[in-house]
Each structure stands twice: as C-alpha cells, then as structure tokens.
C-alpha cells in the first residue's frame, strides 16, 4: 500500500522541485485533477454566463487553475510549496500566484471572491509538523478568514481525502463553527475507487445541498451526504415548547452511542448495564 503523502513530510518539503515536476508531468494525475476540478466547479454552482473572481487554495502547479481559465474565470491561487508555484509560473498559468500557508489564515479584504475551490488539499491542514502547529487552530483560522473574504451567498468547495472519520469530523466542525452552512457530499459512496469527498460550504445564505453522484436510485437518498443546520440554543428550544431532555439518562447515552457508531467509531455494545447508576461507595 502506498503511504499517504501527508504522512511523509510537510507539504512545503514534500512538493520539492522533483516532486513538483513529476506531479505535473503525470498524465494520469492531470486527468484526475481536471475531473475533480470540473466536479468542484459544478458544485460551486456559479451563475451561468457571468464573470467571477475565484480563489484556488492549494493551487499547486495550476492544474486546477487551467480548468478555471478554460471556463473563463479569473483566479488567484495560494500554495505553500514554492517549487509547485515555480512550475506553475513556467507553465504560464493565467492566475495570480501567492506563496502562502492557509493554516495561517487568508488576508484578503471582505467579500473579495465569488467562490473558492481547493482540490486534494485541506487534509494537509490537519498535519502537526511543528510543535506550534495545532490542527484545530489552523483549521479554524483558515475557515474563519475564508468566510470573511467570500461574497455573501458564495460557495466554497473542497475535494479532500480524509484519513479517518475523526479527521472528517474535525474539518467539518471547524467549518461549521466558522459560520458556514452546508456539509459533506460523497460521490459514488459504494465504490472504493470512485468514491470522492467534497466539503461544500455556503457563506451566509442557507442553500439547498447539491445531490451526490452515483447514489443509486431512491434507496440511497440522503444517505451519502450529511447536512448541518444551525445549533439549537436554549432560546430556540423554549420557543418550540419542548421540555429539555433528561441529562445523561439511558436514552441519552444510547442516542450518543448510536451517533458514535454511525460516525464509524469503536463503541461498546448495549446491555442492561448501559447507563446504570453505580452503587454507593461504602
């Protein structure tokens, strides 16, 4: 099994001159990147025949940027690897390039961009390569600053390769806490090879989630995307008139365990002892 690149070295070191050239010359890679970008653009759902200014996070050597240019969009690309950007420069891509670490937060003015894409990149933000890199903080900084620089109603679509359910949760929850709505779309959820994860985020305005591909008829409907709405606060609960749920009673524990199971975590089986009170200590 090939080891994931995220485990081998930090992105700015992994994508060195050699790796950057290899990456860009590989025709299979070009094809995959192009397809992923096209799907991300489809999910971005920009109004037709209207020009737009887009942000490409982790633009690398500009393979995704080429697709954007082809569709007539103007783009600005950020990447942490200088080698990759130099390859992009040699290829004379149309977009503006910037050497930048997304985990340090973007510093664009409010409402600058009409949309944002990131292809195979945000899982890199979960790396803790240095002692000072706290994945959770880097993700929060990234998503909060992204929210600011997008126009209200704009979307951001990130295709990524999560390495575990925990990581997926870490990324999604950071995005939601930063004010985005939206959620995860899983294309071809039943195929190991074609399965692709897209985090589809809406800035400001609640929108309808797009449909995933290859779900297979009505049966799988709703099963392969997770949508998230706003948090239920005490105040909204009061308004709805429902009483507060019991704290840590058996039902609560069972529900919590079920949720963890659905997220694919290891959970003890339920028995008559589940959530039973402990006896007094002497």
């Amino acid at each position: 099994v090939k080891m994931r690149p995220e485990y081998q070295a930090p992105p700015e070191l992994f994508y060195n001159d050699d790796e950057a050239k290899k990456y860009t010359a590989n025709s299979h890679n070009i094809e995959v990147q192009t397809k992923l970008t096209e799907r991300a653009l489809e999910l971005l759902n920009l109004p037709e025949d209207e020009p737009a200014l887009l942000l490409d996070i982790g633009c690398g050597s500009g393979l995704s940027g080429d697709v954007l240019t082809e569709r007539g969009y103007t783009w600005v690309g950020c990447d942490i690897s200088r080698s990759m950007l130099e390859v992009a420069q040699d290829r004379e891509v149309e977009g503006d390039l910037m050497l930048h670490d997304s985990g340090q937060g973007l510093s664009f003015r409010t409402g600058s961009f009409d949309g944002c894409i990131g292809i195979s990149v945000i899982q890199w933000l979960c790396n803790a390569d240095k002692k000072s890199n706290v994945p959770h903080k880097r993700l929060m900084r990234f998503f909060q600053s992204l929210y600011t620089c997008l126009r209200r109603g704009a979307r951001a679509v990130f295709q990524f390769y999560p390495d575990s359910p925990d990581q997926m949760q870490l990324i999604t929850s950071a995005a939601m806490r930063s004010g985005f709505s939206g959620g995860l779309i899983i294309d071809f959820p039943h195929s190991t090879k074609a399965k692709k994860y897209y985090l589809c985020l809406f800035a400001g305005v609640q929108q309808q989630m797009p449909r995933a591909l290859g779900e297979g008829g009505d049966e799988g409907e709703g099963a392969s995307h997770v949508s998230v709405s706003g948090r239920q606060t005490d105040r909204t609960r009061k308004r709805s008139g429902k009483p507060r749920d019991g704290v840590k009673d058996r039902d609560w524990v069972l529900r919590k365990k079920e949720r963890q199971r659905q997220q694919g975590n290891d959970v003890r089986h339920d028995s008559k002892y589940t959530a039973r009170k402990r006896g007094p200590k002497f």
Binding site: D96, H100, S112
Partner: protein, 121 residues
C-alpha cells in the same frame, strides 16, 4: 502579481489589524495584454477599493485614474483603462510593505511570499 490581487490583499501580520493597502516598491514590472471583458470589469468595480487603487497607481508613477462618478462607470474608455490597471500590469520583482508594522514581503518572479513567522500569526 496583478494590481487587482494587490487591491484585495490586506496585511496578514498579527497586530496590523488587516492594514490596507500594502505599499509597493517595484524593481520590475511588466505589462501582459489580455482580452478586454467589459462585463468582468464592471463586476469588479464594487469589489475594488477605488481610493486605494488610485493611491497605488499614483505611487507607481502610472497614468493617474480620475475621480469615479456614476457616469464614468458606463464609459467604455474608463473601463478599458481600469482593465489595463487591474489585469494587465504585473509586479514581477519588488517588495510589499505593511503600513502599520513595516514588515516586508518580497515579490520574486511575480510571486509574493506571504509566509509568516510563527510569532506573527
């Protein structure tokens, strides 16, 4: 780096409070012609910080931009001029300086280096 991107970019340094615009020191700039798309330039108008753009253009010693009026927004010649300023002028080598902290970001081969040190985040 185009002046459009420069116009969107605020200082990323901690404590600079997104200071804007970054001061440009040019060593080399270049004009690369691109196709004029009036719809796109009109789309950019509300996004661009026009006073800051005028300031930048003046500091680079280029042809000054006029005061903006509603009439001007429909004027083809004006849009063409904006197109040139925003999308055709590239800063190839030089420096960007944060107006508050004085931190310098180098621009080499058209790529600004916006990486921060750990204590600047």
């Amino acid at each position: 780096m185009r002046l459009l991107t420069h116009n969107m970019l605020a200082s990323p340094v901690k404590g600079a409070n997104n200071a804007f615009p970054l001061k440009i020191t040019v060593e080399k700039k270049e004009v690369q012609e691109t196709e004029f798309n009036p719809a796109f330039v009109r789309h950019l108008l509300p996004k661009v910080d026009y006073p800051a753009l005028r300031e930048t253009v003046a500091s680079l010693g280029m042809d000054p931009l006029p005061e903006i009026t509603d009439e001007l927004k429909e004027n083809e010649d004006f849009l063409k001029k904006l197109h040139h300023v925003l999308l055709e002028v590239h800063i190839i080598d030089g420096e960007l300086t944060c107006p508050v902290t004085g931190r310098v970001f180098k621009v080499t081969q058209g790529i600004p280096n916006m990486l921060l040190n750990e204590d600047e985040v």
